[in-house]
């Protein structure tokens, strides 16, 4: 980088050197001025954080199937779900060939399957298998768990179950989230949602275990969408029923599966003891999550008044809490 100017004796060389130097100085000067002009900012930053906000999610439902619901009694999840899916018209009428399917499971906690705090692996395996069987090109399994994601999926047995069925678990990463604003919403405003898995699929199946929930009263298919929220979502515990309502307005799933094979009657949503569970032996599949939750409430021995989010979602036109009006098919595998 050393640069040595040779000693100049003749005037003409000196003059040429001077002119070159002046040109270079002029160019530097121009560059400096141009840069300053370009980037000059007379105003201070506004202090508002700029985020790209998406207005909503695609509708994943299959409208031509209408509202259908099936309630199947039995203890073997694989059997009950198969029967229930047949009862709502057959899975092939919901999942088209080459569809990409997302199973939104509940993998919130790093707890073993037998505690039923998370979606049951048997159910994950069966649904994933069936989807692939009717021609789905891929099945992914996702959630934004409360505990460490990798351990949640591993300990809940969901990861193994998905892998065995040929589905793939997608763990949430920092760049999996996008900001959303729900039109007319008060809570979902510029709030991050787990978008990456939703973005890449054609159909969404919500899979929720039937649980007591200390804050909201019950955790069923509507509360299951809470697992899509990113950011510091626990501030929504200050208004839990309305956030569940707004989530139900934001996401229209293909259908939901409410697993009431064993119900966590108390100490939810984590449970922790088998004594918290009650064998209720019921599998509910519904295109209407409000109806599914309304039926689930009866299994949990709660009234709808104790679970305001159901009525709130109904008031927004998400579904019907009077599940009987859907003429649910009630079947049994035994």
């Amino acid at each position: 980088m050393l640069h040595l100017i040779k000693i100049q004796n003749s005037d003409s060389v000196g003059r040429r050197e001077f002119l070159t130097r002046c040109t270079k100085a002029g160019l530097s000067l121009t560059t400096a001025c141009a840069l300053a002009y370009w980037f000059y900012d007379p105003m201070a930053p506004s202090g508002r954080q700029k985020v790209d906000v998406l207005p909503g999610l695609p509708d994943y439902s299959v409208p031509e199937m209408g509202n259908r619901m099936a309630i199947v009694r039995g203890t073997d999840r694989a059997k009950t779900i198969r029967l229930a899916l047949e009862a709502i018209g057959g899975l092939e009428r919901y999942i088209r060939p080459r569809d990409r399917v997302l199973l939104k499971v509940n993998a919130a906690f790093a707890s073993p399957p037998m505690l039923c705090a998370t979606s049951h692996p048997d159910l994950v395996t069966e649904i994933a298998r069936l989807c692939l069987k009717v021609g789905a090109s891929s099945v992914i399994v996702a959630d934004n768990p409360i505990n460490d994601p990798a351990s949640c999926f591993a300990l809940s047995g969901i990861e193994k179950a998905a892998r065995e069925a040929g589905a793939k678990v997608v763990l949430p990463r920092r760049d999996s989230f996008r900001y959303f604003t729900l039109e007319g919403g008060l809570l979902i405003r510029e709030w991050p949602l787990l978008y990456a898995p939703l973005q890449s699929v054609d159909k969404v199946i919500g899979m929720a275990p039937l649980k007591d929930h200390h804050r909201s009263g019950a955790s069923m298919t509507l509360k299951n969408w809470y697992g899509l929220l990113g950011g510091r979502r626990n501030i929504f515990h200050q208004d839990i029923h309305n956030i569940i309502k707004e989530l139900s307005m934001l996401l229209k799933a293909t259908f939901v599966v409410l697993d009431g094979t064993a119900t966590m009657m108390r100490n939810g949503p984590t449970g922790g003891s088998l004594s918290d569970l009650k064998e209720t032996g019921t599998m509910i599949v519904s295109t209407d999550p409000v109806a599914a939750d309304a039926y689930g409430a009866s299994l949990l021995e709660r009234t709808l008044d104790e679970l305001p989010f159901i009525k709130k979602a109904e008031a927004e036109g998400v579904g019907m809490s009077d599940y009987a009006s859907l003429n649910p098919k009630i079947l049994t595998t035994d």
Binding site: M1, L2, H3, L4, I5, K6, I7, Q8, G14, E17, F18, R21, C22, K24, A25, S28, L29, A32, C33, L35, A36, F39, Y40, D41, P42, M43, A44, P45, S46, G47, Q49, R174, D175, L187, E190, G231, R232, I235, F236, Q238, D239
Partner: protein, 649 residues
């Protein structure tokens, strides 16, 4: 009048002007106060502030445009800023003169010889600027995915260039060179395809650590002026305290005292601003020159007072010359001049920095930022004790602007803005943080001084309307810098059944953000008092032992046994060791008979913070009478500047 005298006058003028600006940086409208004095002018003239923030924020904020004038003059004239304008340089030069006393001319010449280590300041410059250049690098690295055409254009250009070179020279192997070019292109493409560069290369602005102008502002504001305030000059109405400021003082003192060993030590070896000028002045039109070689006796007397150590006697190093022009007078043969022609003995134009040194400094700067950020203080590991002044930007944006000049700390009328230690990581050292233990009160909720003196808008200039959330800003609400939390284990009414509510009284928000819950607590729980005699409104007690007038504060009430009804409480108006007097009320104490059990009850107002109204000003924390660890403390929860810190829906 010789040019050297003019230079001295100029230096003195700017030093005094600088000191005046520092002294006048206190809020008020007297002629010796803030008024409209352009107290940031030196910071604005400093192009390193402008360049640093330009790299880190892609903007050149308002007054920093002045830096362009300095750059322009430097390109034309050389490092005039160092020798003529820089107040820090002036101080160095004065101290350096002291150091040169009684030193023989031969030794002086030796002191002022050029040293290879003068290149260190360029390393520092490159290091500091590359730490601020993460965004620029991201832009470049992302070219293959974001600007594919440009990428292919560059690759094709490189291949053509290689081909051209190969055709010219025999010794270039075209195949090997092509493979190298394509290999680099492939690596580049892969890097930006599979790595999130934005996350990889965060940005921090650290030029202020060593940039002489912020350094001097900081030192004068925080080290020099506070003792003067205390010593009776009263530039500021109250005594000023700055937490941990000895570190600032240490750097300042070291920089000053080193001049006694080597004149202008800081300027020659450390100063990144001087380094920037050293890069800019290589094409300068006018420069110091030796005019005649034959007449020169090589006595090197020209170097006896050379401030920049730029060896004017031989090949002058243009990048080191600070235009002190001492050589003009010191040359006994009048051979030195300042003109447009190069020196007859030749010149070194570029700084003495090898390519390897440059690369090392660059890489070190780029890598150091993600390394510092590994401790997560920008993300989940954010420090709730880090209360930034109102209007401060979100932490990661704040750190791309703050130059640690201490202007906000100086101007803050309550002295509550303090230099941070390591509370925002090593990169946040000496940035402003609020410490409610210090100062004359918390952050005055209708003061906007800090943001309006901040030279880089790290604290943005709020209007009073925006600060208070009124008029145009009524939708946003007031600016919150945190939220106060009552520590119920330390609070006098909560924990110790003592009346207090100093915090509630001092809360400046209207309506108050601190409300009180009224609760009654029984004193003397264990030994139930028994009435001995009742005389009108005065009750004699069997077992007293009170401190006289202890219960006469208006907070204490008398309760007859069994009665839990609040309206049955009788306010105590005075007491002696064994009597209690109650005030007149409809329910006469006449109902009291001898041997009735009596409780003394205190009416407590227990403070509760309403987080929707609290702006985190810390007045409550400052005033809390639990002076050690305060019983009400502000943490950065719910601060406006970061939506991720919000507490409430």
């Amino acid at each position: 009048m010789g040019i050297r005298t003019v230079r001295r006058i100029t230096q003195g003028f700017f030093l005094l002007l600088f000191l005046w600006f520092c002294a006048a940086s206190n809020l008020g409208e007297q002629w010796w106060q803030l008024r409209g004095w352009p107290i940031n002018w030196f910071l604005q003239l400093d192009p390193l502030v402008g360049l640093g923030t330009l790299l880190s924020t892609h903007t050149l904020y308002s007054g920093l445009l002045w830096g362009l004038a300095t750059v322009a003059l430097t390109i034309i004239l050389g490092r005039f800023f160092c020798g003529w304008l820089c107040p820090f340089g002036c101080i160095h030069q004065m101290v350096g003169v002291l150091g040169k006393r009684k030193i023989k001319i031969r030794d002086r010449i030796k002191l002022n010889r050029y040293r290879r280590s003068q290149g260190i300041k360029y390393w520092i410059l490159v290091f500091l600027l590359s730490a601020a250049a993460g965004d620029l690098l991201t832009f470049v690295i992302n070219t293959p995915t974001r600007r594919t055409t440009v990428f292919w254009f560059l690759v094709i250009c490189a291949l053509l260039f290689v081909g051209f070179k190969a055709a010219q020279k025999e010794d270039v192997q075209p195949r090997k060179a092509m493979i190298i070019v394509l290999g680099i292109a492939l690596l580049w493409a892969l890097l930006c395809r599979f790595a999130d560069i934005q996350v990889l290369l965060p940005v921090t602005l650290q030029t202020g650590l060593l940039d002489p102008i912020p350094l001097l502002y900081r030192s004068v504001n925080l080290v020099i002026l506070p003792p003067l305030d205390s010593a009776g000059f009263h530039l500021n109405p109250s005594e000023r305290i700055y937490d941990g400021v000895w570190t600032v003082g240490l750097v300042f003192m070291t920089a000053i005292l080193l001049n006694l060993f080597v004149p202008r030590f800081y300027c020659r070896f450390i100063c990144p601003l001087g380094a920037l000028f050293g890069v800019l002045d290589r094409f300068s039109i006018w420069r110091v020159q030796k005019k005649d070689m034959e007449a020169c006796k090589d006595c090197r007397l020209c170097e006896q007072n050379c401030e920049g150590a730029c060896q004017p006697s031989t090949q002058i190093r243009i990048s080191e010359c600070v235009l002190c022009l001492n050589c003009l007078d010191d040359c006994p043969h009048g051979l030195m001049g300042y003109g447009t022609r190069p020196s007859v003995t030749g010149e070194f134009l570029s700084p003495d920095v090898s390519r390897r040194e440059f690369t090392v400094a660059l890489i070190a700067g780029v890598i150091s930022v993600p390394m510092i950020r590994l401790n997560g203080h920008i993300g989940p590991n954010w420090n709730p004790d880090l209360i930034r002044p109102p209007g401060a930007l979100r932490e990661e944006d704040f750190l791309t602007r703050c130059i640690k000049c201490g202007q906000c700390m100086r101007v803050c009328p309550t002295n509550v803005i303090q230099p941070a230690g390591l509370s925002s990581g090593i990169e946040g050292i000496w940035t402003p943080v609020l410490n409610f233990r210090v100062g004359t009160s918390g952050c005055q909720f209708n003061c906007i001084a800090c943001g309006n003196v901040c030279p880089t808008a790290a604290i943005r200039p709020l209007s009073l309307d925006e600060r208070l959330g009124v008029n145009d800003f009524s939708e946003n609400g007031p600016i919150r810098i945190g939220t106060a939390f009552v520590d119920r284990n330390r609070c006098l009414p909560w924990a110790m059944d003592r009346p207090c509510i100093v915090c509630q009284e001092n809360c400046p928000v209207s309506p108050k953000a601190i409300t009180t819950q009224i609760q009654f607590s029984v004193i003397h729980k264990d030994n139930v008092l028994t009435a001995k005699g009742v005389d009108a409104l005065e009750i004699q007690l069997l077992n007293g032992g009170f401190i006289p007038e202890r219960y006469a504060t208006g907070d204490y009430y008398l309760r007859m046994d069994g009665q839990n009804d609040e309206s049955a409480l009788q306010p105590i108006i005075s007491n002696t060791e064994d009597t209690l007097a109650v005030s007149v009320s409809e329910k006469s104490v006449g109902v009291l008979s001898k041997d009735t059990a009596i409780d003394i009850v205190i009416r407590l107002q227990k403070p509760v913070v309403d987080p929707e109204r609290c702006i985190g000003c810390g007045v409550c924390q400052h005033e809390c009478p639990v002076k050690g660890k305060r019983a009400i403390r502000v943490s950065a929860e719910n601060e406006t500047r970061n939506r991720d810190h919000r507490l409430l829906l």
